[in-house]
């Protein structure tokens, strides 16, 4: 090949097929692989990559969609805060359609609540500076990938002495989730595709002890079809060779140590905490919350929302789907009672949710 173009070559049909052929030559028996990240789930289904894999390889979808795993009580807290007349509630667009116990942020907005979609927490900070008479709250959700901009917004608010900005934090981390999945007695996962963008921030130094403990190989993987094919090939190679290693196939973005200035910033603002994952339950030390020094910017403390008790739809099996135990098609409500227009659970809302991806792309 004479030239490699960074937007199209990672989707090149011939290159992808070449890797698929290599996977077919390598595999000798069935393997269950989990892609941990919702962005990878979306890409796999959007490009139909799973259709090109040999039948021995089963991909199961992990709990890596930040919208999907944000716990119901936190959504209900968001709804309570957004309903207050003095509040401008800012959020990434996907969160507006996530159902709480009774309603979503869209219905709050229709009833007069000031709910705004932003693309960055720094936009929320700008809104706070422009509206000193209002309380501006940002819904800080996500994995390690979105943590740096979120902590930066809090640091800047502190530096500016802003009294009208706070964040409702619902941050989660990948390694404790992998630990929870692998320690479950019903676990089926034999190899992991690690989330490339999470690792671009955090590096992958946290994973070798996990791989070692559970005897499961893990491969840092990107998001384009060629990246995913390469990640799957490397995982299959390790499995077939009986090797327990953490390998990196996303070298154009990821190093072992990751982005150290970003990690340092996160550690200054956030501390580890137990966190409930929607559909799964509490995973010890799987979340981040604000350190006490930043309590002034904690929306949970600023607004009295601690006592909210959520009510989940009894039909939704999102928790089992996100642990790799079931597929969206196994749910009795899939595509009938539960659709992207009327989601019962969060996995049907975000484009990274396994149910929404299956529905949208007709699986």
């Amino acid at each position: 090949m004479t030239s490699f173009d960074f937007t199209n070559s990672f989707r090149d049909a011939d290159l992808v097929r070449g890797v698929m052929d290599e996977i077919r030559r390598t595999v000798t028996r069935p393997w269950v692989l989990m892609e941990i990240c919702g962005g990878q789930t979306h890409s796999i289904v959007r490009h139909g990559l799973d259709q090109l894999l040999p039948p021995e390889i089963e991909l199961v979808h992990g709990p890596g969609c930040p919208v999907c795993v944000t716990p119901l009580e936190q959504i209900d807290r968001a709804l309570a805060i957004a309903s207050r007349p003095e509040v401008i509630f800012t959020s990434y667009g996907d969160m507006l359609r996530v159902p709480g116990s009774n309603q979503d942020l869209f219905s709050i907005r229709a009833r007069g609540g000031d709910v705004r979609v932003v693309y960055s927490p720094l936009d929320a900070l700008k809104i706070a500076r422009e509206n000193p008479e209002k309380q501006v709250v940002f819904f800080a959700i996500g994995f390690e990938t979105t943590a740096p901009p979120n902590v930066m917004a809090v640091q800047q608010a502190k530096a500016l002495g802003l009294k009208n900005f706070s964040v409702l934090v619902s941050h989660v981390r990948v390694p404790p989730a992998i630990h929870a999945i692998l320690s479950s007695p019903s676990n089926r996962v034999q190899g992991f595709l690690l989330a490339g963008h999470v690792c671009s921030i955090m590096g992958y130094w946290e994973y070798p002890p996990l791989a070692e403990k559970y005897r499961v190989p893990m491969v840092v993987t990107g998001f384009e079809p060629l990246d995913l094919a390469n990640g799957i090939l490397e995982t299959v190679r390790l499995l077939e060779a009986g090797k327990v290693e953490v390998a990196n196939t996303y070298t154009r973005l990821v190093t072992l140590q990751g982005n150290q200035p970003a990690q340092k910033m996160i550690a200054e603002v956030f501390m580890e905490c137990d966190r409930a994952w929607r559909g799964i339950g509490v995973i010890p030390l799987s979340g981040w919350r604000l350190r006490p020094e930043y309590a002034d910017f904690d929306a949970e403390q600023r607004f009295d929302v601690a006592e909210i008790v959520p009510k989940e739809s009894p039909l939704c099996i999102a928790g089992q789907i996100m642990q790799g135990l079931k597929k969206p098609r196994d749910c009795s409500a899939f595509g009938t009672l539960c659709t992207p227009e009327h989601p019962l659970g969060a996995t049907m809302v975000s484009s990274e949710g396994a149910c929404a991806a299956y529905y949208k792309y007709g699986r």
């Binding site: 937007t7 989707r11 090149d12 049909a13 992808v16 097929r17 289904v45 959007r46 490009h47 139909g48 990559l49 259709q51 090109l52 359609r97 693309y119 960055s120 936009d123 079809p225 659709t339 992207p340 227009e341 484009s351 529905y359 949208k360 792309y361 007709g362 699986r363």
Partner: protein, 352 residues
């Protein structure tokens, strides 16, 4: 009361002319409204039916069936690269009439103006409507203006209704797609939606993407002259190409398969979509038309479209088959097949 009232210096205060911004009086139906019509609307849209000044327009129509279509426009911001609300209000309705296979002739227009709107802004919008109507060869024959209090609207909204004539024997519509047909698209997807989004300044970066907003009746005339056997014409506006094709697949009871490799998207639009997580298949267009017709006519249709200013980049993007009924599928670039569903909910509000 004083006995010696000096009234030598007293004059009755004259009402202000209010010739710089819209006030509630402009929608009163009285003198100020008449003034607005005489100074702003009539000079721009001038034609005998409008000049008559009656409650309704009396117009001549050639033989054929009448096609009627109506559309409201609430785009924000009012002006964006490649167009504005006035241009959009004329083109949108002209295109809705034209994709029925009809020749658009007349428009009526309703303005809802917000108190405080600069008259200069209204004049720019009206001039733009005049230009678009002239290009499309339609007359604006009747109109209405209402003014609402400041804060009750966002500058101005425009509703337009179009009247066109459908020649006898022509039968074009969403239910006419047949297995064996092919799907053509007149140019790249998503320019309008991304241009409006960028014009709001919310992206945090600048682009030179222009809206594709344009009247398509000329292109459609040329196409139908070359290929009278066209089955379906539709402009993929809100919801984009994906949503429009889903509507057609359901109306016609057929399956439509797209070829990902041939889908036209400008690199700048593709880049913005990658960054924001949009799919250009779902982003709005205001100057594109989807054409479904028998495969043997495809080359002639493409040649006719490419000869027109607004169809220079026309391509074949898909084909029609029997099953699965009501589905749109896509052959992906890497050789797999997936479903292309309708848009769920609102992706980008107030783009038209």
């Amino acid at each position: 009361m004083t006995d010696n009232l000096d009234i030598t210096g007293a004059v009755c205060p004259l009402p202000l002319a209010h010739n710089e911004q819209i006030v509630l009086g402009h929608g009163s139906g009285g003198k100020m409204a008449a003034d607005l019509i005489a100074k702003t609307f009539l000079p721009a849209f001038d034609n005998p039916a409008l000049r008559a000044g009656d409650d309704g327009a009396v117009v001549d129509v050639p033989a054929g069936r009448i096609v009627l279509s109506t559309d409201s426009h609430v785009v924000f911001p009012l002006f964006f690269p490649g167009g504005d609300i006035g241009h959009l209000a004329v083109c949108g309705t002209v295109n809705d009439v034209a994709v029925m296979g009809a020749t658009p002739l007349y428009l009526t227009v309703g303005f809802i103006l917000e108190e405080g709107l600069p008259l200069d802004t209204l004049q720019r919008v009206v001039n733009s409507m005049k230009q678009a109507a002239a290009e499309a060869g339609v007359q604006i024959v009747s109109g209405d203006t209402k003014v609402v209090q400041r804060g009750k609207a966002d500058g101005l909204y425009i509703s337009t209704t179009g009247v066109g004539i459908l020649p006898e024997g022509r039968n074009i519509g969403g239910a006419q797609a047949k297995p064996g047909d092919v799907v053509l698209l007149s140019g790249p997807m998503g320019d309008h939606g991304i241009a409006v989004l960028a014009a709001r300044g919310e992206l945090g970066f600048e682009t030179d993407i222009q809206s594709d907003c344009a009247p398509l009746n000329g292109l459609i005339d040329d196409l139908l002259a070359a290929c009278p056997d066209v089955h379906v014409l539709r402009d993929p506006t809100r919801g984009g190409v994906a949503t429009t094709l889903n509507e057609i697949a359901k109306q016609s009871g057929v399956c439509i398969t797209l070829f990902e490799k041939t889908l036209p998207v400008r690199p700048a639009v593709a880049a913005v979509c990658e960054m924001l997580g949009f799919d250009p298949l779902y982003v709005a267009n205001e100057g594109k038309v989807l054409v479904i017709l028998p495969r043997e006519s495809a080359d002639r249709a493409l040649a006719a479209m490419r000869a027109s200013k607004y169809g220079a980049e026309a391509v074949l993007i898909g084909e029609v088959s029997e099953a699965p009924v009501g589905r749109v599928l896509m052959k992906t670039a890497i050789g797999s097949t997936r479903v292309v569903d309708m848009l769920a909910g609102e992706m980008l509000p107030r783009i038209c």
